[in-house]
């Protein structure tokens, strides 16, 4: 396969995300301008200019009309997808680590870091109408997190719940009617970097610093499968058409200068979802991979790395013909 390299960022990629149909690919990095690309040919549609700090998290709603980003400049912004204009800015007390639209995009959630004597907090906001007045609007819920900070987040059961991944490896399920915790498991030993749904949202895969990616049942946070690697895992994604999980990671960013690309294990690794066995690798990045995402049609996937590049890979026929020996 011939990957397309998207070179729109000046610093490490923090997150990449496809929209629902997969024709657009959003990317954010530690520079302050999230980008949006046409995933088919790698053409850049635009950049969202306005943040002052590293952009940690991005999300797009299901109609691809609104785009949300959370950044280290203590703000969360909602943008118009078509024009790249800022619709509103929601300021917070510390940097915004995660943000996400709900399935219907009627609500959104963002969480802030425990920093500058501010606690880690989770905010749920109403995004049915987004305009200048949204900035001062009261959140629907404001939940302070007393324990370890939230490092990743997912909306659960359409819009009724939230699953958060924490710095210490815990996963917590929240009920949004009451704003209370309803389930809590600790299957990871390190920070949960990323969580992604499978296609029908019955299972999700977590990526953790403890060198593993794990598959959980969404209903009761039951640990189903574990995918082991030798390096911290930064992101994992489930193929929508095959029983495959792609896992991206590598040496910690701070140790990269002391390791060569060959031993750094900066490849995307493909695991069989059921047998937990690695069956393929794709090389290319020369830094750890920070985010991976499958195209919603399952025929291509992208990875964004600490090296600042996003690589869009379209699978060869050999990938679809490959049969797992068992």
């Amino acid at each position: 396969m011939k990957p397309i390299i998207l070179q729109g960022h000046e610093r490490a990629i923090t997150q990449i995300k496809y929209n629902r149909e997969g024709d657009l690919l959003f990317s954010s990095s530690k520079d302050n301008k999230p980008n949006v690309w046409f995933s088919l040919n790698g053409e850049r549609l635009g950049t969202f200019n306005g943040h002052q700090g590293a952009v940690w998290c991005i999300d797009v709603d299901w109609t691809s009309t609104r785009f949300m980003s959370g950044a280290g400049d203590n703000s969360c912004k909602i943008w118009d997808c078509e024009t790249g204009k800022e619709l509103c800015t929601i300021s917070s007390a510390s940097s915004v680590r995660t943000c996400l639209f709900s399935y219907s995009a009627n609500m959104a959630v963002y969480t802030t870091d425990k920093a500058m004597k501010q606690p880690c907090e989770m905010f749920i906001i109403d995004t049915r109408i987004v305009d200048d007045s949204s900035s001062g609007q009261q959140p629907i819920f404001r939940i302070p997190i007393s324990g370890p900070r939230i490092s990743s987040i997912l909306w659960d059961s359409l819009d009724e719940g939230i699953i958060t991944g924490h710095e210490n490896g815990e996963l917590i399920a929240w009920d949004l009617k009451s704003g209370k915790q309803i389930n809590r498991v600790k299957d990871h030993d390190g920070l949960v970097n990323d969580m992604q749904w499978n296609k029908n949202r019955t299972m999700f895969v977590t990526a953790s610093k403890d060198h593993t990616a794990k598959l959980f049942d969404a209903k009761d946070l039951l640990l189903l499968k574990t995918y082991k690697t030798e390096r911290p895992v930064n992101s994992a994604s489930i193929s929508p058409i095959m029983d495959h999980v792609v896992v991206g990671g590598g040496q910690d960013a701070m140790d990269v200068t002391t390791t060569s690309a060959r031993v750094g294990k900066f490849d995307s690794r493909f695991f069989h979802m059921v047998f937990e066995e690695e069956f393929g690798r794709v090389k290319g990045h020369f830094g750890p991979i920070n985010s991976v995402a499958f195209h919603p049609d399952g025929k291509s996937y992208s990875s964004g790395g600490e090296d600042g590049f996003v690589r869009v890979h379209t699978f060869d026929s050999s990938y679809f013909e490959y049969n797992f020996d068992y």
Binding site: M1, K2, L40, G42, L45, E82, F279, V282
Partner: protein
């Protein structure tokens, strides 16, 4: 990709022109391809020409996607022309997915099988067809030398001598068909064998001239023996030979002979380099 193009004016005229401005960049649309030609000065102040060829594809997509395709570019990309901007979008060279087979495990299982058979005390259960040794034929250390038609190693003679004595003993021990043996269920006569066989009699011919055709090649190699498969690498766009070819012979000694004869052989103003074909890089992890 830079491409050769006919020169319209003489080089002297071009030198004259160089003092002036660069020729304007052109865009040509022809049979499904867009060719963009640009002129630039490189670091050494030399004029360079960049020719980019794009393939134009039409796809049928849903309305919402088609609508999004018409969106105007914004932000940093607002100045970009339609189509990917080469400053931000680069197509790189091919990368391959490296498939990790469970080869190591397979080998281990086979060894287990041998050990088990040996443990049964059935000494001749595993016997090499080539040298009568105590191993599978495929693992025979003399495998290559025998097939190339070289001399048989001394050990073979030895074992042949002792073979007569052993033959008597062998009659005593009960024959176990391979399918009934202990390790049979585990062993698959699977992909391992097929893969090996395929590249077993294959040679690679490099440094072929551009104009070589498959029939030329066949003429060149069929003198050595029957062929199984012949592959000549050709450029997708031009159909010209890319300079190398793979030939699968039916027999390995034909292949060996072909290597011996053709390596360094002058063919169509070039000197061929011929060697065994190495397995594909993605087939060994």
């Amino acid at each position: 990709m830079p491409a050769a193009e006919e020169v319209k004016s003489s080089w002297a005229d071009e030198v004259e022109l160089e003092g002036g401005s660069l020729p304007p960049s052109t865009e040509v649309l022809e049979n499904g391809q867009k060719i963009i030609t640009e002129y630039k000065y490189n670091e050494d102040d030399k004029k360079i020409k960049i020719v980019r060829t794009y393939k134009i594809e039409k796809r049928i997509v849903s309305k919402s996607i088609a609508l999004r395709k018409t969106w105007k570019k914004f932000g940093e990309a607002s100045g970009d022309k339609p189509g990917p901007n080469p400053a931000t979008t680069i197509v790189t060279e091919d990368v391959y997915m490296q498939y990790i087979t469970s080869k190591e495990e397979d080998n281990k299982q086979e060894d287990d099988g041998i050990d088990k058979l040996k443990a049964l005390g059935d000494k001749n259960a595993v016997k090499c067809r080539t040298c009568n040794g105590d191993h599978w034929t495929t693992k025979c250390p003399w495998k290559d030398t025998m097939l190339v038609g070289g001399k048989m190693p001394d050990e073979k003679k030895l074992s042949a001598v002792t073979g007569a004595g052993e033959a008597g003993k062998q009659g005593g021990s009960k024959y176990v068909p391979p399918s009934m043996r202990d390790g049979a269920a585990k062993r698959t006569d699977g992909s391992n064998m097929a893969k090996r066989d395929d590249s077993y009699c294959a040679i690679r011919i490099a440094n072929l001239s551009e104009s070589t055709t498959e029939s030329d090649l066949e003429e060149l190699v069929k003198q050595f023996g029957p062929l199984q498969k012949l592959y000549l690498a050709k450029d997708k766009m031009t159909g010209m030979c890319k300079g190398f070819a793979y030939i699968h012979f039916k027999f390995r000694n034909d292949a060996a002979q072909a290597i011996a004869r053709l390596n360094g052989h002058g063919y169509d103003h070039l000197i061929l380099s011929v060697d065994w074909s190495r397995p594909m890089p993605n087939s060994n992890p």
